[in-house]
């Protein structure tokens, strides 16, 4: 997927002026946060499970090579095949080769962020294979030719009215007088449109929430059951997953599953949790003839051992963006690449470079709500700060900000000069504020005063008044400005 992360400010500007988007974001902001809070309150051991989940992933990452090899040998034992892909290009190529080997014309797809990451749909299409998204949200954005704006709710940036309009436009063969008022009707209509595709598809591609080393299984969690049809009906099933998705045992995955849906959607469990282990065996009633796993690195192994390793614990639950004030303000597309919100602010620079994605770790207030809700206890603000440090070291920080900061730091490191400066500024800004007590505009601070008044100082610095109190009677001076 092409990135517009460098244009975050412009993207955000557009998003802020988009009324339909703002309406859709308002719904997300309340729904997800309340449901997560309820789910947490109903499970007394929730925080203990988060600790356990974090520890499982930390252990796995410390022995990632071991678990991946074990996973591969288990998949092979069951008659499947693991394809190791270092880059997005390798993964695309591998998938196309598999499709061509069975002369595939149509592939059905379950939701996969990794498929977005490698730009799979455009690539397949350009090579004569038609991808059909089967997740409702993905289906909608495929109709609109848009990328997802959220990692678990790809079409969350749309209002119901927009979806209805898209369906009427694209499903012109259906009776125009049909009612699409109820959300159920939209779901039903998408199902109808998809039914034949499931049957016609030559290959089914799904993502994976987890890969289990102990059994060689892949797991997907969905609420629509579309993943099951995608992977069972075609002759070939391709699982596409990034390599940090592996966990050692079924026991481990059962712990992490208990925090996944609760954190993301606030459900105790998603409606479907589907395990797939190899192709159809003798005696199985259905299942694919071939089972492939495309295992993608694409920069992740380089994060091992770095200050960003912890981010590989991520289980893509979406809680960090559901609780992020910046995401609530601008939505997912403003971030400009596959992964939005706080997880994107850390992951995107790692995967496509901080030169391109430098805005993302800066576009955070460091309010810490993402870290507070992350089921895997990933210290997201700390990692964003690491990126800011890298940018500063490499002179990528904008020049004006950098010189401003350096000037400020010069004084901040010299208390006596700093005290003089504050005495001066307190008076100057006070005088500018006049009797009103605040300024409506201030040169060099238009970023502030374009939107809000600037409260003027009381007129003298605290240190100055304190020194007076110490030298004088010892009584607290008359409050300045009173």
């Amino acid at each position: 997927m092409d990135s517009t992360a460098h244009a975050f400010k412009d993207n955000a500007h557009k998003a802020l002026g988009d009324d339909q988007l703002q309406e859709a974001l308002g719904n997300l902001r309340h729904g997800f946060t309340q449901r997560r809070a309820q789910a947490r309150d109903q499970l007394p051991e929730f925080d203990a499970l988060r600790d356990a989940a974090r520890d499982i992933k930390n252990h796995t990452l410390a022995h990632l090579d071991l678990y991946l090899e074990r996973y591969e040998s288990k998949v092979s034992e069951q008659g499947g095949k693991v394809h190791w892909c270092a880059t997005a290009e390798d993964a695309r190529r591998t998938i196309l080769d598999i499709c061509r080997s069975v002369d595939a014309k149509l592939v059905t797809k379950g939701k996969s962020m990794v498929a977005e990451e490698i730009g799979l749909n455009d690539y397949l299409e350009a090579n004569g294979v038609t991808p059909a998204e089967t997740d409702l949200g993905e289906y909608i954005i495929q109709l609109r030719n848009e990328p997802p704006s959220h990692i678990i709710a790809p079409a969350v940036h749309l209002t119901k009215a927009q979806v209805e309009a898209d369906f009427r436009k694209n499903h012109s063969e259906l009776p125009p007088e049909r009612s699409l008022v109820e959300p159920e009707a939209l779901v039903q209509e998408a199902r109808t449109m998809l039914r034949q595709k499931y049957l016609d598809a030559d290959v089914g591609i799904t993502g994976a929430n987890f890969l289990i080393a102990e059994t060689g299984s892949s797991i997907i969690v969905t609420n629509e059951g579309n993943g099951d049809l995608t992977q069972c009906l075609p002759k070939v099933h391709i699982v596409i997953a990034s390599l940090e998705k592996v966990v050692p045992t079924l026991e481990d995955v059962s712990i992490i599953l208990r925090v996944l849906a609760r954190s993301g959607t606030g459900q105790e469990f998603t409606a479907y949790t589907t395990f797939s282990t190899g192709p159809k065996r003798e005696g199985d009633l259905d299942g694919p003839d071939e089972y492939h796993v495309v295992l993608l690195d694409n920069g992740r192994s380089a994060m091992l051992g770095s200050e960003y390793q912890d981010v590989l614990r991520c289980i893509r639950c979406g809680a960090c963006m559901n609780h992020c004030p910046v995401y609530h303000a601008v939505g997912g597309h403003a971030y400009g690449w596959v992964y939005p919100g706080p997880i994107g602010a850390v992951l995107t620079p790692s995967l496509i470079g901080v030169e391109e994605a430098g805005h993302l770790p800066n576009a955070s207030t460091f309010c810490g709500r993402c870290e507070a809700v992350c089921p895997m206890r990933i210290p997201l603000p700390k990692m964003m700060r690491h990126w800011r440090e890298k940018e500063f070291e490499r002179n990528l920080t904008p020049t004006a900000a950098r010189s401003g900061l350096k000037l400020w730091a010069f004084f901040a490191k010299r208390p006596a000069l700093y005290a003089m400066l504050n005495r001066f500024n307190a008076r100057l800004l006070r005088a500018l504020g006049g009797r009103k007590g605040s300024l409506r505009s201030l040169p060099l601070a238009s970023g502030w005063t374009d939107h809000r008044d600037f409260p003027a100082p009381q007129g003298k610095s605290f240190q100055e008044l304190w020194a007076k109190r110490q030298n004088g009677s010892g009584a607290t001076p008359r409050t300045p400005g009173a």
Binding site: A12, N362, L405, K413, W448, H451, T479
Partner: protein, 256 residues
């Protein structure tokens, strides 16, 4: 063991020093009323967050070094700001990895540093204050104090002891106000959207006074409320707890 007259160093914070000394004096009064002896070292400036959050680790370390040196020998160091207190408490020690001597000094400082209201409530076990306020207030939980230091019930408990004061809870009180230090000038439009929503909630609370424990957030919210022409005023929670309301509210002129 708490000494009978705890020797407290006040870290004023750069914003209180420059913009609102009355908050510093309110802090001093609250501390003195609780039996502390308060000293204000002259060799302090800022906790270093502007540099730290812009990724300038070298300058941050030098500013932190200066703070660590300036605040040696106190029983406690108290800060009328959750975010500056959290900076010292949660972030200083790691700045000195590779300098064991400095690191242990930073750890000592971190250990004895407290945000003002939680220091009064949790450490000194102050249960009430001798103050009056006739009116309805609402309270915004500033992010660092809330999430890094667990400041949540302490200000509410102490406010409950202010005679005449009625506290109404703010919708989404725990959501960031959009200040974020330099964030508000680096991404003004996004910051504005966040503070606009905050201002709507504040106005919706029907309170006549907004309180919080961090001057940065307060200036952001007060500035927005004023620009919107809202009637709600804004003050640091310490001002109300100390009963020091003679200075005009944040961003208000003498005539108001």
């Amino acid at each position: 063991m708490i000494p009978s007259t705890p020797n407290v160093g006040l870290f004023v914070t750069c914003l209180v020093d420059l913009f609102r000394p009355s908050v510093g004096f309110a802090a001093v009064e609250l501390l003195e009323a609780a039996g502390c002896r308060v000293t204000v070292p002259a060799a302090q400036t800022c906790c270093g967050q502007p540099a730290y959050n812009m990724g300038d680790r070298a300058d941050t370390r030098e500013i932190a070094r200066q703070t660590v040196k300036a605040f040696q020998g106190f029983d406690y160091v108290v800060v009328p700001s959750g975010s500056c207190a959290a900076m010292i408490k949660e972030h200083y020690p790691a700045l000195f990895t590779g300098e064991p001597e400095m690191q242990s000094q930073a750890e000592v400082l971190a250990e004895k540093t407290h945000e003002l209201i939680s220091f009064l409530a949790d450490v000194l076990k102050v249960e009430g204050v001798d103050a009056q306020y006739r009116g309805t207030v609402t309270y915004h939980d500033s992010c660092s104090g809330l999430r890094e230091l667990g400041v949540k019930q302490q200000p509410r408990r102490l406010l409950a002891s202010v005679e005449g004061l009625e506290l109404v809870e703010l919708q989404e009180a725990e959501v960031c106000c959009g200040f974020g230090g330099t964030f508000c000038v680096k991404y003004p439009e996004v910051s504005n959207k966040i503070v606009e929503t905050k201002a709507e909630h504040i106005e919706g609370s029907q309170a006549d006074l907004l309180l919080a424990g961090d001057l940065g957030c307060l200036m952001n919210m007060a500035g927005k409320l004023k620009r919107r022409g809202a009637k709600v005023e804004a003050r640091h929670v310490a001002e109300v707890l100390a009963g020091k309301l003679d200075a005009p509210a944040i961003g208000e002129g003498k005539g108001s």
